[in-house]
Amino acid sequence: MTYRLEMKEMTKKYGDFLANDGISIQLKKGEVLAIVGENGAGKTTLMRMLYGLEQPTSGEIKLNGDQTQFYGPRDSIKQGIGMVHQHFMLFSDFTVTENIVIGHEPINNGFFNRKLASEQVQKLSDQYKIPVNPSKKAGDCSVGEQQRIEILKVLYQGAEIIILDEPTAVLTPFEVDELLKTIRYLADQGKSIILITHKLPEVMKVADHVTVLRNGRVTGNVKKVDTSIDELAKMMVGRELQQLSERNQLKGEPLLEVEAISIKGKGSKPVLDQLSLTVHRGEIVGIAGVSGNGQSELIQAITGLTSVDQGDIRLGSTNLTGKSVAFRRNEGLAHIPEDRFLWGAAKEATIEETGMMGYYNKKAFNKYSFILKKSFRGVVKGWIDRFEIKAKSLDDKSGNLSGGNLQKLIVARELGFETDFLIAAEPTRGVDIGAMEYIHEAILEKRNRGDGILLVSSELSEILLLSDRIAVMFEGKIVDILNRRDATEERLSVLMAGGKEDESSTKNTTTA
């Protein structure tokens, strides 16, 4: 039989660098093909060639058995290939309908036929069971909705092959489930899907076939039913996964004490409502919760990025309430931010400059208010070696680092302060397995040295893996705190949804 799409021996060279080295993939009608690999494995390059954004050095592409070539996205779209990018490309002031039909608007006597467009979108939405509100503005849509708009846009353009680039990186667990259902449904309707990801549980849930890339080569090509997460991970990383270090028992005296803090917020409900929490030395406290239940505000309140209306925050014996960010950092607080591009770095600044934040005014790197760049460069180079950050040069822009590498830089910077207390918010979001292991190990190591860590993550697996105690947040409150040995994904999910746990299991909680 002929495949719907076949890429044969695709090679792409940039100078001496082989980004893709003889990669072949096959895709049948109605099939979900997952392409997995770590950052820099060559997934994106391969897809860029398929989407016409890059021309291959060698190799051939066959569509329904016929050899073809793509000279640009427009060309690919015409031949039935659509791509949903990781970062959405929507006009936030346009409605959902306008965003979907853009470039292919139904025309009536030279005018945009808005009514017809809206009907078409509604029909498409019903046909593929992808719910959207056609008249809503894209800017008012949630992340999950925006992604659905992107998928509909591709369908509207008549795509038979849909490429989804890291589609779940930005979604909540619930939205991920919905998306996976949609992907399955589209495949059942005869569409072919290419899913680019490094999240293996999702691959196992939705894919039919898996192609694994590492360093620009194919290291695995298997049917889903014949493989397992462990096997895929091994093919991806090229070695067995590490086991985390032992955790020694050393919960010490209270370090961070949050006492009944409240933030009113704009709506009728307070964003933080009389929240209390303690992190001890030698302890990792995980915060679980569906995003938007006050986790971000809690982090900002502790770090001083937002002020509280009520309550106290203490670090050791120092009261932090109302103090500046700089004061808190000097008192021994480091912070891996939840959004690395918004808070953690300046894209236009060099890698060195992004790394320098918080160090530039430290005595060791500052003389007569001149920054001692030479001494500092050594420090950054140390981070780059230790965390295996792939950077062209320290003078390259931070924005040119891949997400995972930038995250590693930020983690290295914040760990480098060697503070007693660390807030780690989404420390491994969008990061590959290798980097994730590194970061987890580093956090655990810090705990084992007797420092206190507050871990906030939307990945329950991460919370369960690292935390000594797990606090569940719902609507600005901590609804329960579970000990490590008592916490399961099921129990946490129930609490996260705001459901009270039934009597049987609640009584072993520790006080905050």
């Binding site: 500046s324 808190r328 001149f370 062209k392």
Partner: protein, 358 residues
């Protein structure tokens, strides 16, 4: 390989403004051709008018002096990510206060000179700080407040020299202060030439500002605030403090632009002498053209001044009207502000980027 990269790094920030200038000149050429004049001859006359002999060269540098200083002041604000549009008002207030200080502060010429500089800097700085404070305290948009404060400053300065401090000695009652004492004059760099000590001050200012922005903690704070205010705040930089600090220096240096014009060239504050030639707006263009790099701003300021003095020479010697310079400048503004070239460059770069891989 390494050297090649270094050169590329040096040239890259230059490529955008150079391209803009070339397109500007090309458009100017079209306009000249439309009038029916020879493009090459006209540009030759223009070049001669700007750099043709020592006299014209120094005239260009004299004209560039206030433009450089205004550009430097604005560069600080832009680097901090705030749009200070109030250079004109800050410069004019600086000029009038410097003139008044050199007229009325008692003491030796040196004391008068120092107080003139201090007054010029403080007047511009505080005026600018006012807008910054309104932004920090009441969230009044800086872009708008600084723009509007220009009118207040220029009209107030006009009132000062038309009423209480007007020069009544001459027969014609012009809106200007009396002439300042010769002891306070900034010396000319060459006898008979118009370029004065202010030019040296401006160039030194450019170097100092470059070093300060690039190598000091305060410079780092200013730049990070401009590149990502959230990142700056997260890292413990006091946003309001740095913003106010940047606005103060930004306005202060614009005030100095007015000061050196008064002390080095006009020897009094004359109403309209600073606003009519559009120094402030040319300075703004210089800062934008150079992407707020202080050294680049100085170079761009000289270039723009040359364009203006060159155009004057052109008008003297050819049939082509002065407005050609405005055409070229207009195109420059268009290209610089639209960042057309930058985006074009980025698309080019992205296509060839190795690290496009996720």
């Amino acid at each position: 390989m390494n050297l090649q990269r270094k050169i590329q790094q040096l040239l890259k920030p230059l490529s955008q403004p150079l391209l803009a200038v070339l397109i500007g000149l090309f458009t100017g050429a079209l306009a000249i051709a439309l009038i029916g004049e020879s493009v090459i001859d006209t540009y030759k006359v223009m070049w001669d008018g700007a750099f043709g002999n020592f006299y014209f060269l120094t005239a260009t540098l004299a004209r560039a002096t206030p433009i450089i200083l205004v550009g430097l002041g604005l560069a600080i604000a832009f680097r901090a990510g705030v749009f200070n549009m109030g250079a004109e008002g800050q410069m004019v207030l600086g000029a009038v206060c410097a003139a008044l200080a050199s007229l009325y502060v008692p003491g030796s010429g040196f004391v008068k000179l120092l107080s003139a500089f201090l007054a010029g800097f403080l007047a511009g700085g505080l005026w600018s700080l006012l807008a910054g404070w309104m932004e920090v305290k009441y969230k009044v948009q800086l872009l708008i407040s600084t723009l509007l404060l220009n009118y207040v400053a220029v009209l107030f300065a006009g009132y000062l020299v038309a009423e209480p401090f007007q020069d009544k000695s001459g027969s014609a009652a012009l809106a200007q202060t009396p002439m300042i004492d010769q002891a306070v004059w900034l010396p000319k760099l060459f006898t008979g030439m118009s370029v004065h000590m202010g030019f040296v001050i401006a160039v030194i200012g450019a170097v100092v500002l470059y070093v300060a922005l690039q190598f000091t903690s305060s410079g780092y704070e200013v730049r990070m605030l401009g590149k990502n205010p959230f990142f700056a705040e997260y890292g413990g930089i006091n946003k309001s403090k740095v913003l106010l600090f940047s606005m103060f220096f930004s306005g202060g240096i614009s005030g100095l632009a007015g000061t050196v014009e008064v002390l080095g060239s006009q020897y009094r504050y004359v109403e309209g002498a600073l606003t009519v030639p559009g120094y402030a707006w040319t300075g703004l263009m210089a800062a934008l053209l150079a992407n707020s790099n202080p050294l680049g701003t100085a170079a761009a300021a000289i270039l723009l001044a040359a364009l203006q003095t060159g155009a004057m020479g052109m008008e003297r010697n050819t049939e082509v009207p002065l407005e050609i310079a405005s055409v070229i400048q207009g195109v420059l503004i268009l290209f610089v502000t639209a960042k057309f070239t930058l985006n074009w460059w980025k698309v080019k770069k992205k296509a060839s980027d190795i690290n496009g891989a996720v």
